[in-house]
Symmetry: C2
Amino acid sequence: MKNRIITISREFGSGGRTVGKELSKRLDIPYYDAEIIQMTAAESGMTQEYIRLQDEMTPHANPLVNSFQARDQYGMTLQDHLWQIQRKVIFDLANRSDCIIIGRCADYLLFHLHHCLRVFIHGDFDDRMERILKVYGESAESPKKRLLDKDFRRKAYYEFYTEQKWGDPKNYDIMLNSGSLGIDQCIDILASIWNNNKEADEI
Amino acid sequence: MKNRIITISREFGSGGRTVGKELSKRLDIPYYDAEIIQMTAAESGMTQEYIRLQDEMTPHANPLVNSFQARDQYGMTLQDHLWQIQRKVIFDLANRSDCIIIGRCADYLLFHLHHCLRVFIHGDFDDRMERILKVYGESAESPKKRLLDKDFRRKAYYEFYTEQKWGDPKNYDIMLNSGSLGIDQCIDILASIWNNNKEADEI
C-alpha cells in the first residue's frame, strides 16, 4: 500500500528539522530523524554515537577511511554498508504509515514507491548563521565554517548515493526560504498542501 | 515608498504566466507581462513585434547580431540598449503600486527596492511538454526542442544581466513544481502568503 510521505531536505541552520517536528504535531503523523539513527544502530550492531558521526557522510567525505578502504579496490566501504542498512530502515518506516522523514535521501528513495511531497528548506547565509548560534550555541568553529562543512557533507552524501543534484528544483515539489517566509509560515504552507490533497491519490 | 511586488520567474511550459494572471485577479493587483513589451516599444521607438523577438535574448544568444556588434569591440549591443529601457519600465511599474511582474529579471532588479516575494515556477519535462502542446499547439519544432531553446534563452538572459544563477534556490523565496502541485494549488499557496503578510513590512 502506498502511504503519504513528506520528505524534508534542508540546508543546515534553515530550521528544516523544526518545520518537520511541528508539522508532525499539526498533522498527527510520525516524524523520523533521530529514530533513523537508533534503528540503523540496532540493525548494524554499532553504537548510536558512531552512526551519528557517520551520518550523511560519503566515502569521499572521509579521506582517512578512504585511504584504508579505497572503494574501487576493496569494494564496499563502511559508509556504503550503513547506507544499505539505513535505506532498509527508511523503506520500513515509510511502509508503516504516513509520515515525515528528514534528510537521508528519503525523497529519492521513496519517490516511486509512495505519494511523496518532496520539500527543500533553505535560507540566506546570514539568517542561518544567526539561527545555528541561537539553537546550537557557540563552538570552537566559526558559524560560517560549520554551515559550509555541514552543507558540503549533505550535498556530497546526497549526490554520491542518488546521482542527483542536491537542492536542484527538479528533485522537489516545493522549496521554501525559511529566512524570508519564516518557520511558522513554512509549516502553514506544508500543512495546507497536506490537507488540500487528503482526498487525492497523488500530492 | 516601497510596494509589495510578486516576481514570477518560470520555466517554459510550467504555467507561470497563468499563475501570475489568476493571482492578479484573486489579489486585485495589476499583472505585467505583455505590458512590459508595449512600454519598452513605446520608449525605444521600435515595434512590439521586434521587441517580442528580442525578449529575454542576451547578446550571446544571438550569434548573427553578435558577429556584427561584437560587444567588446563596439560597446553596447541592441539587446543591452533594450535591457536598459526595459529595466526603467520595470522600475516605473513597481513604483506605481503593488503588482505582479513576470520574468525579465524583476526579482533581481526590485529585491532591494521593494518588498518582493520572489517566486520560481518549474515543472517536470513531460508535464511541461504536455502543457505547451495544449496551450500553444503544435509547431514545426518538437515540443522538446521548444522547451530546451526557451529555457536556454531565459537562463542565458538572466545570468548575463544579473550575474546570478537562474533557478538557484537562493535567489527565490519559494519555488513550486506546478506539475506535481497543480496550477490551482500554486495560486492558493501564493495568495495565502500574500494575505498572511498583509500587515508585515517584509514578506
